[in-house]
């Protein structure tokens, strides 16, 4: 039984996601908002594996998202590929690039992966912006076909909503398995002490690289979904602001748990809907939220709630005795 408890939060997520359209109304604007929450969650769950479990930070996941979106968009519009084939191709391209960047930098210590991914992300944006003939430059390009599944076109927002959240659930399930697998245990040992882990025969660099590639692939996959949903991409879809936003989502929610990543993503995606007139100042609000949460609960909202719950439990126990 105990081994099944780890699936309970997933069950709750699936239930909530399934019922959500009936709570807000099936034609509600919130359906669109939560399509984006789902798309970004796929990235942030992968990123939380990288940050919380492998202890590395990437400031280039916006670029992987962009590579997924652009590869999907270009292959379907210019080369007339089947959208699913384009998604597969963009995943492959991203894995190769992530391996090329991750292999040398993950062997180093410190901030090197952060800076290498940051530089890489900026190069990607520069290329997408400069190759005007291919990508339409700063204004981007449109006409990307919608995805279809078993002959059913995912044109309808509600159908696409369920499609995306089904994928999010699969990604969560997959991540739970990784965390509780050999790789997950190896990563946790690396977090404890990389030297000790190495001495025990854990190839730290190899596992870190695998998680980095996996998280990059998830980002590219989300980017492909975004392109086929929006039917349009431009460099704003992958600029640095997105990379930073993704890291902020993970950190605010709590980077040591995929649930934290989900909470952070929901919170920061719906926040602009409430900021309204302050639209221009959203960046300041995000920065302030990030610093305040880090100062009061370095493990993010999820970590903070867990700590508070543990504290209350101990208090109760003390009163009982």
């Amino acid at each position: 039984m105990k081994s099944l408890t780890k699936y309970i939060p997933l069950l709750i997520v699936v239930l909530l996601a399934a019922l959500f359209p009936f709570m807000v109304g099936v034609n509600s604007y919130w359906i669109t908002v939560f399509i984006f929450v789902g798309i970004y969650s796929i990235v942030t769950i992968g990123l939380s594996l990288l940050m919380g479990y492998a202890g590395q930070i990437s400031l280039g996941h916006g670029a992987f998202f962009g590579i997924g979106a652009y590869a999907s968009g270009l292959l379907t519009t210019l080369a007339n590929w089947n959208p699913w084939l384009a998604v597969a191709a963009s995943l492959f391209i991203t894995c190769v690039i992530a391996a090329l960047i991750g292999y040398p930098t993950l062997r180093l210590r410190g901030h090197y992966l952060a800076m290498a991914t940051l530089a890489f992300g900026e190069i990607v944006v520069i290329v997408f912006t400069a190759e005007v003939d291919l990508t339409g430059g700063p204004s981007g390009f449109g006409g990307i076909p919608r995805l279809s599944l078993f002959g059913l076109s995912l044109k309808n927002d509600l159908i696409f909503y369920y499609f995306v959240w089904a994928l999010v659930s699969i990604v969560i399930l997959f991540s739970i398995h990784i965390i509780h697998s050999r790789v997950g245990r190896a990563l946790q040992s690396i977090h404890g002490s990389e030297n000790a882990a190495n001495a025990m025969g854990v190839d730290a660099a190899k596992y870190k690289l695998q998680i980095f590639i996996l998280s990059a692939a998830l980002a590219a996959f989300a980017g492909s979904l975004y392109a086929h949903y929006m039917t349009f991409v431009s460099p704003t879809a992958c600029e640095l602001k997105l990379s930073i936003m993704l890291v902020v989502m993970v950190a605010v929610g709590g980077m040591h748990s995929i649930w934290g990543a989900l909470i952070g993503t929901i919170l920061l995606t719906i926040l602009p809907e409430f900021l309204g007139v302050f639209e221009d100042f959203d960046i300041l609000v995000y920065g302030a939220i990030l610093i305040i949460i880090l100062l009061f609960s370095p493990d993010g909202l999820y970590g903070g709630v867990r700590q508070a719950a543990g504290f209350l439990k101990r208090l109760q126990r003390r009163e009982a005795t």
Binding site: M115, A116, E194
Partner: protein
């Protein structure tokens, strides 16, 4: 203009912009040496330097020299406040949290700058006119000389400070071995705060002297920080002499690349160099191979 003088022109342009990269890199190094943190808000200090200088001279009519000193003081104060408000309370957290909190700091400073100055670009008048000097057919703006001169003075002052003053020696001691420094009575936390103050001041100076030749807006800091970091890694992280040399190399490569290859890819050149150096020789051109041994992760 002959080809040779054209090349010379690119070199001159590269030197002035490279000097700025070098100074930004020194800002990174000062904090890195003291704390092992890469301060992702470093570019924001540069941006603030330019912005505050514009406000003090254009809006408040202060003379250039007074505004210069006041600007550096204000930004240095902001650097110190940032350390006290965000870095000091998290001193026991992991490196990952440290990176994220400096990112948070950079977002907050950028957002505050946008609130305060809006999204427009601002420019400063050149310090001493725009009549270019001609050297072998290449034009040299007087501002280029100001940049190189002020940079030279800053580097010399920093070197003297770290080598010969008691506080400078205490800061180096903290960088080398914090526990030993604490045991000899050096207050490490004060030295770390001071490193942010110094680093912000150097960033502000770079921001002030570059603004006459390139515009400044609230978003300007990020790219300068990234290129400054490229210079810091190319020169060997923590090695400030290397940072200056690497800054010049990057500036010249960038201006040659923009002139001879493609100006659309101008900003990518330093970044490609950064990636290559991380792959091939992460300890930098002038660093020793042990450089990355220092910092835990």
């Amino acid at each position: 203009m002959s080809f040779a003088s054209q090349i010379l022109q690119y070199l001159v342009t590269g030197l002035s912009i490279g000097g700025i990269y070098g100074m930004v890199a020194i800002g990174f190094n000062i904090i890195y040496n003291a704390t092992g943190i890469i301060n992702f808000a470093q570019g924001e200090f540069v941006m603030l330097g330019g912005m505050i200088m514009v406000s003090l001279t254009a809006a408040m009519g202060l003379p250039v020299a007074a505004a210069f000193i006041l600007t550096v003081a204000i930004v240095a104060l902001i650097g110190g406040l940032f350390e006290r408000a965000a870095i000091y309370p998290l001193r026991n957290a992991g490196v990952l949290t440290m990176i994220i909190v400096t990112i948070g700091g950079s977002i907050v400073i950028r957002g505050a700058a946008m609130l305060f100055w809006g999204k427009e670009s601002y420019i400063l008048p050149h310090f001493s006119g725009e009549d270019a000097l001609v050297l072998f057919g290449a034009f040299i703006l007087p501002q280029t000389l100001w940049i190189l001169g002020i940079m030279f003075v800053t580097v010399c002052a920093l070197t003297l400070f770290f080598r010969y003053t008691l506080v400078g020696k205490a800061m180096r001691a903290c960088a080398a071995n914090r526990t030993a420094a604490l045991l000899s009575g050096i207050e490490a936390s004060r030295m770390i705060c001071l490193s942010f103050v110094l680093s912000a001041a150097v960033g502000a100076i770079a921001g002030i002297i570059i603004t006459p030749i390139s515009l400044v807006d609230y978003n300007r800091g990020f790219m300068l920080a990234l290129k400054g970091f490229s210079a810091a890694v190319l020169g060997g992280l923590g090695n400030s002499g290397g940072a200056v040399a690497a800054g010049f190399i990057l500036g010249i490569l960038e201006s040659l690349g923009a002139g001879l290859i493609s100006s659309a890819y101008k900003d990518a050149i330093s970044l490609v160099v950064l990636l290559i150096i991380l792959f091939v020789r992460p300890s930098g051109l002038f660093g020793n191979r042990e450089a990355d041994r220092l910092k835990k992760f």
